[in-house]
């Protein structure tokens, strides 16, 4: 036993080591760069297509020319720069934020069914907007106020959800459950307000369904600071999410404070969700399906799953809106009818769910 003090663990291999070598990497780790680049390229292609779609259709070549300021038609240049580019950027960034929020929430709750709508943040944001539209004096409903209200509503909700789930400590399951309950209550109140004040349904509906229609630079101005703050925060929390994913006891054994980490990650997810909902409304499903697809491609390690979730969700939102814009329909709008794209939120689940189901069934076989 005399050797025991000398040979205490030093981190050196028991046998002679033959220099420094990396471990064999997992399939997910090897694929990650290719998938990130591939989905990134898909996002760019979809963005080019997306800019061209709308009431006035512009072919991708002309879109590129307009972006470079060399479009043949000055109207096209104006449409692309004033209307379409902000809309596409907003769809892309909001999609990424919702995807990353979903990935964070699935990691925090250790529940693959978690999504931004599950935490009540989306519902809380929508309720704040609807309540404002119903009760605020007319004329105050400026476009700039609503997103800030959605943010305030979303962050208030998450605080409430966290407080309700606290019983001498937080718990992933209780957190998910109280998120669903608070979200359901917010949605119910929203519906009651709508029923009481049916004229406003038109202006409120797009918040509830979620849409990027009519989103221009004013809205981008609201979105980008949140994205700039919250997206890097979310990506940087991947290491903490990995440790937390091993369970509270293991995480604490590794030197993490699980309660603190969970609260911090939940707050980041709420920031991401609230920022996105504030501008595009409660677009459902992409925060659920994006992270799922990403993990399927590169595995459960959050350092890969988080960035890919963001990019995949951005691609899904863009793709869904490309379809929505292609299906431009005549809408009854007050007394007149107006041509407009479908709200994308109406399509994300409709297109996403069958695809998701297909993936699940294929996995079973």
């Amino acid at each position: 036993m005399e050797g025991r003090v000398i040979t205490r663990a030093t981190g050196r291999a028991a046998g002679p080591t033959t220099g420094f070598a990396l471990l064999p990497r997992s399939a997910g780790a090897r694929r990650f760069p290719a998938f990130l680049a591939g989905v990134g390229a898909l996002v760019i292609a979809l963005a080019a297509l997306h800019i061209g779609l709308g009431t006035v259709r512009i072919v991708p070549g002309e879109v590129a020319a307009a972006l470079l300021g060399r479009a043949a038609d000055p109207v096209h240049r104006q449409i692309v720069w004033e209307l379409r580019l902000p809309r596409t950027l907003i769809a892309l960034v909001a999609g990424a934020m919702l995807g990353l929020a979903g990935a964070l929430l699935q990691a925090i709750t250790r529940n693959p069914l978690a999504s931004p709508s599950l935490t009540g943040v989306s519902a809380g944001g929508v309720l704040a907007v609807v309540a404002w539209l119903s009760f605020a004096p007319a004329g105050l409903a400026a476009a700039g106020v609503l997103p800030l209200l959605a943010l305030a509503g979303g962050l208030t909700t998450i605080t409430l959800v966290y407080a309700l789930s606290w019983q001498g400590g937080s718990d992933p399951t209780r957190l998910a459950l109280s998120g669903i309950l608070v979200g359901a209550i917010c949605s119910a109140i929203t519906l009651i307000l709508l029923v009481l004040d049916a004229q406003r349904i038109g202006s409120v509906l797009r918040w509830i369904i979620g849409s990027v229609n009519g989103r221009v630079w004013v809205h981008w101005e609201i979105l980008w600071p949140w994205a700039l703050a919250a997206l890097p925060l979310g990506l940087l929390s991947a290491g903490a999410a990995n440790a937390l994913g091993l369970g509270d006891a293991t995480a604490a054994g590794l030197g993490q404070r699980p309660e603190r980490a969970r609260a911090a990650l939940l707050f980041v997810a709420a920031l991401l969700t609230a920022g996105a909902v504030a501008v595009v409304g409660a677009i459902g499903f992409i925060g659920l399906i994006g992270p799922h697809l990403a993990r399927r491609l590169v595995g459960d390690d959050a350092r890969r799953a988080f960035p890919l979730s963001a990019v995949v969700a951005a691609a899904i939102l863009l793709a869904a809106d490309v379809v929505a814009q292609a299906l431009t329909l005549e809408f009854p709008f007050g007394d007149a009818t107006r041509r407009a794209g479908l709200p994308v939120g109406a399509l994300t689940a409709l297109l996403g769910a069958p695809f998701f189901l297909y993936l699940m069934l294929r996995e079973e076989r």
Binding site: M1, E2, G3, R4, V5, I6, T7, R8, A9, T10, G11, R12, A13, A14, G15, T17, F20, A21, L22, L23, P24, R25, S26, A27, G28, R110, L236, S237, A238, G239, A240, N242, A243, G245, L246, G247, A249, T250, A252, G253, L254, G255, Q256, R257, R295, G299, D300, D301, R303
Partner: protein, 276 residues
Amino acid sequence: MSTIGRNGRDGTTLAALRAAEVRVGYGERAVLDGLELDIAPGTVTAVVGPNGSGKSTLLKTLARLLRPDAGAVFLDGAEIASLPTAAVARRLAVLPQGPTAPGGLTVGELVEQGRYPHAGPLRMLRMQDHEAIRTALALTDMTTYAARPLDGLSGGERQRAWIALALAQDTPTLLLDEPTTFLDIGHQLEVLDLIRRLNRERGLTIVLVLHDLNQAARYAERLVVLDRGRVVADGAPQDVLTTALLAEVFGVRARILADPESGAPLCLPYAVVGRD
């Protein structure tokens, strides 16, 4: 077996871990009550006792996963509650009972988490981190499994992966809560042999909670028997495992033989006497 330890300045043995008058309770009920325990460096100690005797609670308290209501735990002489949590994690690794991880995580990714207290989150792994991970995988015979996802492993392999995670923390002290639960007998021995090897070859101080008294007697040099939150017996297996103790603490009548393989005491319970 004598306890060989580093000597404190006053000539007394400085314990790797020490619990001093620890009381832990869930509400009114005290699970641990005025518990005293010293763990000498470089020793293997098995904590045994009937269900609900406070074994897991003791291990969690030693690992600062539970904060005692009264008393304190000292790690290398410093009160554990006053140390930064990452500093504790660099000196003490703990493997909780029945740990879970996302099934798509690979063995390598799991073991890499052991470097969490050494490198900050998201900081790139440095050369010593890679080395610690490789060593942990080699010690547990998991090197060839590094790229395999956890949900494709057998129970024994998965448990070795979790032990590798704790080893990658590269701590002088290792606490394990029932590391052999849910494993078949072959895998149980494999894990226990590994634990013994870690102690003998690398000098790790090991405290483990075990259910199987015979395994505890064979693999640990010291048994700590808990009953109702108190240490009722403490010492070398052959001194601790007596028919009287088995009747009093576990409520069984048993014959005690010497294990023909190791010489360790071997108990064969044959009747329940019941406990008050």
